[in-house]
Symmetry: C2
Subunit: 338 residues, 2 copies
Amino acid sequence: MTVNRQIHLVSRPQGEPSAANFKLVEAAVPALTEGQVLVRNHYLSLDPYMRGRMNEGKSYAAPQPLDAVMIGGTVGEVVDSKNDHFKVGDKVVGMGGWQEYQLVDANQRGVLQKVDTTHIPLSAYLGAVGMPGVTGWYGLVKIIDPKPGETVVVSAASGAVGGAVGQLAKARGARAVGLAGGPDKCRQVVEELGFDACIDYKQHPDVKSLSTALKEACPKGIDGYFENVGGIILDAVMLRANAFSRIAMCGMISGYNGEPIPMQYPQLILSNRMKIEGFIVSEHMEVWPEALKELGTLVATGKFKYRETVADGIASAPEAFLGLLKGKNFGKQLVKLI
Amino acid sequence: MTVNRQIHLVSRPQGEPSAANFKLVEAAVPALTEGQVLVRNHYLSLDPYMRGRMNEGKSYAAPQPLDAVMIGGTVGEVVDSKNDHFKVGDKVVGMGGWQEYQLVDANQRGVLQKVDTTHIPLSAYLGAVGMPGVTGWYGLVKIIDPKPGETVVVSAASGAVGGAVGQLAKARGARAVGLAGGPDKCRQVVEELGFDACIDYKQHPDVKSLSTALKEACPKGIDGYFENVGGIILDAVMLRANAFSRIAMCGMISGYNGEPIPMQYPQLILSNRMKIEGFIVSEHMEVWPEALKELGTLVATGKFKYRETVADGIASAPEAFLGLLKGKNFGKQLVKLI
């Protein structure tokens, strides 16, 4: 019997989540029925959206059920198949969850995608050439739509999404300015990812100080902002926003534990004729082919830089996830499962 | 010598404006030079945007200069002309300011427009078929873009802009819900303007109470919101906003005196994938012909309802304007100048 080690959510966090909300469970891998595919997951993706799913109550997606495998994107290899479209050895990307094996009814359209690892590493399909990359692409291209010479700011710039935003902005002739936590991340954002500047927000504990730093880094003001964080960072950016600037609202990690995060100056939306738009990339599947084509080409030709932080083994997933929420990761946070 | 009575701004308000910020001044009407037109203003339009112009400091428009005639839209009649395009007796709309006569270099394109008063009253060109009407049209049609069966909410619903938003929403098959101050205004919004419901915000002093009232008036949630006010009304609306809802941000009268008016729940922009867009109608002159065609046809055929509150004589303009800021007007606030 093959043992499948899984992480279940066993309780909902009150405020900040902890390791006690999760539990390692061993399950047997059942026999395949017709149409099914068994995947050995190689990497699990950890992403901030998972924090939202841990809460009860209304959001854009149903909450993660208790006592069930945590939701999550995975890449892996087909190890058994009773489906004509998949054969043993195929590399695949899917939503395999926090577990080592995934049994999929692969006749459902879109649940499992074959990927080509000739020029692109398997793990990149969870980052630069996966959901985080397309998320950055959508907000930048479809909402911010920067013109050459404009200035684009992105928070959590050293993360998988932020790194994509900045590099795609540079490719369009815009100035890219990042916000990240700590001097090491800021150095990487500028030196490795090629941003024009990066502000260490930890050095600027209030709106005024952060706004002054943004003024220096963005001498012509801010035309586009990709929001991953919320709170005082959003306020400080809005104080430097130009007329007709655009904000793509992708995440508000500062409010995930239920803290109030008011926007202090909504009147700037009017006086600067701004556009602010929230989005969830999974609702825009129509752009994925175009986005993945650009991202895949950039990665395959070595023009797109990214880093990965890799935790080892399914048992390490909860701690790695809690670290991600605190910004301990560098680039894309993965868990290696094999 | 013809005496031209004018209202000047003589000081800037500290917080709430008062009559002492204005002064009645008598000036002589100078002789016309080639190309000029002299207009006897019949009506002056008073509008909330003027409050913003009274402040020093950066906004989307230059501040109103001190010791000069207050800016304002006017309709009137040509009483003298040294310009081939205008003759005595022509009815015109322009930015004549708070004064009885207006001397215009009418060769500048767009400073003076002839209007047809056969089927549309002259004063309507300052309201339903003027800037307020086009403002409502732009936010509703170009930003909210309601589908039949959707619900559109507008604050300051009994005002000239709000009344246009609701009636244009109804014409597009949407449910129109207003917010207005007091039972008389609410009755007019429903009975005269044809809204489906109107909430007296004065009966709901906090977000929770207002949000409950909105839930009753909008059983299917809110798909579009036309914002004239800001503050807790915006918060309450956002708590009832549907996925993919749109907010057209046109005014934030609650913050005009410098009070903080934070948006309490910006995370709803993300969780509901909302779009919020600020706009100023004078920056979208390309839509005016289309908007005025629809509004003019509705007014000329009696299908569009509006009210006017008319103050008498230029000397009454400051008090009428202060009343407008406190919501004392019913529909479009005008000053009759002749």
